[in-house]
């Protein structure tokens, strides 16, 4: 362990003398109850041994196969340049930019992240990111309550990712259901006492929703409309801000973050400028320094916990700077055409698979819904299909538990993999 702690015995003795105590134990003289045993942890390993164990444990996982799981996390290409930038020590080992004079790298990258999110969502103000997509959703739910001065109560349909709904409920926000029948949400009867209405597009089942209809119905009852969007889809679909959404949130994992068994990812949040004071989390703004030089700084800090304490608009402390940086670098590399390319490839491949499955006699759960790269297909026995797929070296889709499999297709899937999927599933039944 000494490799991380530089002191020699001589250093320790000199320092104890300077402090005027005899032993290291004496530094804990005030600690009651003091723990006198030895921690019962496996004994220390060298770096080599620890990493060998990591490799051995990794082999207990199933990996390296084509993945058809999505449902909020997508197996997308991560360009090598993303990892190269986010592993630079100056980004990796810094903290929240409390000292802007020596944090312009982090601050400018946040400013660029906010700009990209604003562009994609069509909303004026983005924050510096929050923990993940689910947390962006719940923060938006709480935000609608503060803005409308109503009790936190939101209307959602089963088109909202059930995991997002779960987090909303954990945070003690009341949830009411909107009808969801043919693969999209029916917004014609929004209750008039809700603070917010959620519209996820593409929704949990992969279909594009009518954000315009959602926002009009929402505004009719004096509530706020929150759009939950996959950022890749915003390269081809109209920006939610242009369709009347008041807040846009989502999971930025598809923008350059590896699957990593569920995290770290990053959540994005954007809103109209008039609502900025109720937007939680860090916001980076442009200013000038003493010499008049353009620079960036965290701003509108009066919303935050370290200043306002019990009256802050959230307890959130930092953003997800490093994964937000990954999203920024990814989006810079791809550009608008690259993002569109990712979307178009995914759509074309997903529809190729969807069409082939239908041609093989399988029914899509929502055949009339317009889907992008994810769809639910009905199968006689989803578990059996997934077993057969795994046998054939394919990680199948998500078992929805009701006779359907949610299948996601990204730009990484090849025609051979799609054909193999159809063949294995057809052979299984």
């Amino acid at each position: 362990m000494a490799r991380f702690t530089p002191h020699t015995e001589a250093d320790i003795q000199e320092m104890l003398d300077a402090i005027a105590v005899d032993t290291l134990d004496d530094l804990f003289a005030d600690v009651e109850p003091r723990y006198k045993g030895e921690l019962d942890l496996p004994s220390a390993l060298s770096e080599y041994e620890a990493l060998r164990e990591v490799d051995a444990l990794a082999k207990m996982n199933v990996w390296g196969l084509p993945i058809f799981l999505g449902a909020g996390a997508y197996d997308r290409i991560v360009p090598s340049a993303v990892g190269a930038i986010i592993s630079r020590g100056e980004f990796l080992t810094s903290y929240t930019p409390y000292q802007p004079e020596i944090s312009q790298g982090t601050l400018q990258s946040i400013f660029e992240f906010q700009s990209m999110i604003s562009e994609l969502t069509g909303l004026e103000i983005s924050n510096a990111s929050v923990y993940d997509g689910a947390n962006a959703v719940v923060e938006a739910a709480l935000m609608t309550a503060r803005l409308t001065k109503r009790d936190p109560k939101v209307a959602v349909s089963s088109g909202l990712n059930p995991r997002y709904r779960g987090v909303i409920e954990t945070y003690r926000v009341e949830v009411v259901d909107l009808p969801f029948e043919y693969g999209t949400t029916d917004f014609s009867n929004v209750p008039d006492d809700v603070s917010g209405v959620f519209v996820q597009s593409p929704n949990f089942f992969g279909a594009v929703e009518d954000i315009q209809a959602a926002s009009e119905a929402t505004h009719d009852v004096g509530a706020l409309c929150v759009a939950v969007c996959d950022p890749i889809s915003l390269s081809i679909l109209e920006a939610p801000g242009n369709l009347g959404a008041d807040v846009a949130v989502g999971e930025a994992q598809p923008l350059g973050m590896p699957l990593m068994f569920g995290g770290p990812y990053t959540g994005y949040m954007a809103t109209r400028e008039e609502f900025v004071r109720q937007l939680p989390g860090r916001i980076c703004g442009e200013t000038i320094d003493k010499d008049g030089k353009l620079a960036y700084v965290l701003t509108l800090r009066g919303r935050e916990q370290d200043i306002r304490r019990a009256r802050a608009n959230s307890n959130i402390c930092t953003n997800q700077a490093l994964t937000a940086l990954a999203a920024t670098v990814y989006t810079a590399l791809m550009g608008p055409e690259g993002l569109r390319g990712v979307a178009e490839l995914s759509i074309s491949k997903a529809h190729y698979l969807g069409n082939r499955l239908q041609a093989s006699g399988f029914r899509l759960r929502y055949p009339d819904a317009a889907y992008l790269w994810e769809f639910a297909v009905e199968l006689p026995d989803v578990a059996k299909a997934n077993e057969a797929l795994l046998e054939a070296g394919i990680v199948g889709g998500l078992d929805l538990g009701d006779g359907a499999m949610l299948v996601a297709v990204t730009e990484k899937r090849t025609k051979d993999e799609l054909d193999a999927f159809v063949e294995v599933v057809s052979d299984a039944f």
Partner: protein, 471 residues
């Protein structure tokens, strides 16, 4: 202008990445979705090549200081060295490529990492049940207080409306209490900067749900009455929550369970060396006693026979993250703990040694409001007439990242210094020398600082008044 924005370096038509060629027929978008939902104008993003992207962000990184570039004694944040083996672990494809919804049988290695880490944190805290799901320290706090809330709801005890926080608490504590639906009330301090037990005794009643204590507290002082504090709360049927931001002072020296703490959070990005990343991602794992265990977020990981599986605690508050938490940070922390084992205690010892060394060397010139043994950090005040802000900016000119300033709020002109265990005596001596020099530097020179940093002092008012948060 320090740097152009990435978008200003582009030109329409440039690309930084090439996608695989299509191997299926490309769909026309308007054949897939109604034309009315398609985007009419393309987003104004950067259009740049890869060399430009790499150079741009590499140059931006050079405008940043991190632990890798300088001593970073930011109090309460534990800016210790981040071992690179942790980073090597986190890019292993068998973990990095694992989808969170893969069946448990396909993720046994990942589940085992989680199960073992749960066990390690239980051992370090003495508290038997652990959830790794909270995504940051603040979320660990909120998860804990939501569990307390659910405990009282479940017991039909509707009168528990208040959460107490000491005046030294991190801002996240009162903000968390409010967010969980409680009223936050502040408890005062005794002459050591610790919770005033007499005042606490008067405040605690049947409306109290919990006290949120940080130990050692944000003055770097050990809360020596913690057992008595726990007793006061427990007698009233309330819980003792411990903010574990400062666990780097406790490992192997103090286990919260033995001080009768009921529930606590860890910051894996502080104590267990996962990188701070410019402000996240972190991991705010929590540990709790038997009473609160049924309310933990779902899922936790259990071992049955030779198999690891996810389980749902019976009265779970639900989930607090989209998936299982920041697994990448769990993997790094697991690796760190495996490289230390019981020697985690030496980490704590060296961290406390370093802080006390700084305390004794600065004392006399800087005022030490609580001049007794400190733990892993020490709060100091500049000499009469000098401001913490100016000393901080002066440190920047000498190549240091400043300590935390103006926190804790109870100490005027506070400078909270946390050296951590990974700094050598030479580094500390140089820093101390600079601090002593700055104490003698003229006010005029201090106010001019920083003069050598990438930017000089910023106009923060302008940023707020003329809000510009995007290109």
């Amino acid at each position: 202008m320090p740097f152009d924005l990435i978008r200003d370096k582009g030109r329409e038509g440039r690309r930084g990445y090439t996608l695989p060629k299509p191997d299926v027929e490309m769909k026309q978008l308007d054949a897939v979705v109604p034309k009315s939902v398609l985007r009419k104008e393309k987003p104004r993003l950067a259009e740049v090549d890869e060399p430009t992207v790499i150079r741009h962000y590499t140059n931006l990184s050079r405008e940043n200081e991190g632990i890798d570039t300088t001593f970073y004694p930011l109090g309460s944040c534990t800016m210790k060295h981040n071992p690179r083996a942790n980073e090597a672990a986190a890019v292993v494809p068998g973990f990095a490529g694992l989808h969170p919804l893969q069946a448990e049988a396909q993720a046994q290695g990942a589940l085992r990492i989680m199960h073992e880490l749960q066990g390690f944190l239980a051992e370090v805290s003495g508290l038997p049940y652990v959830s790794l799901q909270p995504l940051a320290g603040a979320q660990g706090e909120l998860t804990s207080i939501l569990m307390v809330k659910r405990f009282f709801d479940d017991a039909g005890d509707e009168g528990r409306t208040t959460v107490l926080v000491p005046s030294t608490a991190h801002g996240t504590n009162p903000a968390t209490a409010s967010m969980a639906g409680f009223r936050a009330k502040e408890v005062g301090l005794d002459e050591h900067g610790c919770v005033d037990v007499d005042e606490l005794r008067e405040m605690v009643d049947e409306s109290t749900a919990a006290l949120m204590i940080t130990n050692p507290n944000t003055c770097g002082v050990y809360e020596r009455n913690i057992k008595e504090i726990a007793e006061v709360l427990h007698e009233a049927g309330a819980f003792l929550y411990m903010d574990g931001a400062n666990m780097n002072a406790n490992m192997g020296r103090m286990r919260p369970a033995e001080a009768d703490v009921d529930i606590m959070h860890f910051n894996l990005h502080k104590t267990f060396s996962t990188p701070h990343g410019g402000g996240g991602p972190g991991c705010g794992a929590i540990a709790c006693s038997d009473d609160l265990a049924p309310f933990l977020p779902e899922p936790t990981v259990e071992k049955r026979g030779d198999e690891y599986r996810f389980v749902r605690p019976d009265k779970t508050i639900g989930r607090v993250a989209g998936f299982h938490g920041n697994f990448g940070q769990m993997l790094r922390a697991w690796n760190y703990i495996r490289m230390h084992g019981p020697e985690l205690r030496d980490v704590t010892d060296m961290a406390v040694l370093n802080a006390n060394y700084v305390r004794t060397q600065l004392g006399g010139t800087y005022r030490i409001p609580y001049d007794e043994l400190c733990k892993h950090e020490v709060v100091v005040q500049p000499p009469q007439g000098k401001k913490a802000l100016d000393i901080a900016k002066g440190l920047i000119d000498h190549g240091y990242h400043p300590p935390t300033i103006y926190f804790p709020l109870v100490v005027k002109e506070a400078m909270l210094i946390e050296p951590t265990e990974t700094e050598s005596k030479e580094t500390l001596d140089d820093f101390i020398g600079t601090m002593l020099e700055l104490a003698e530097t003229s006010q005029e020179d201090l106010e001019a600082a920083p003069t050598h940093a990438p930017t000089r002092r910023l106009d923060e008012t302008r940023a707020a008044r003329q809000l510009k948060a995007r290109w």
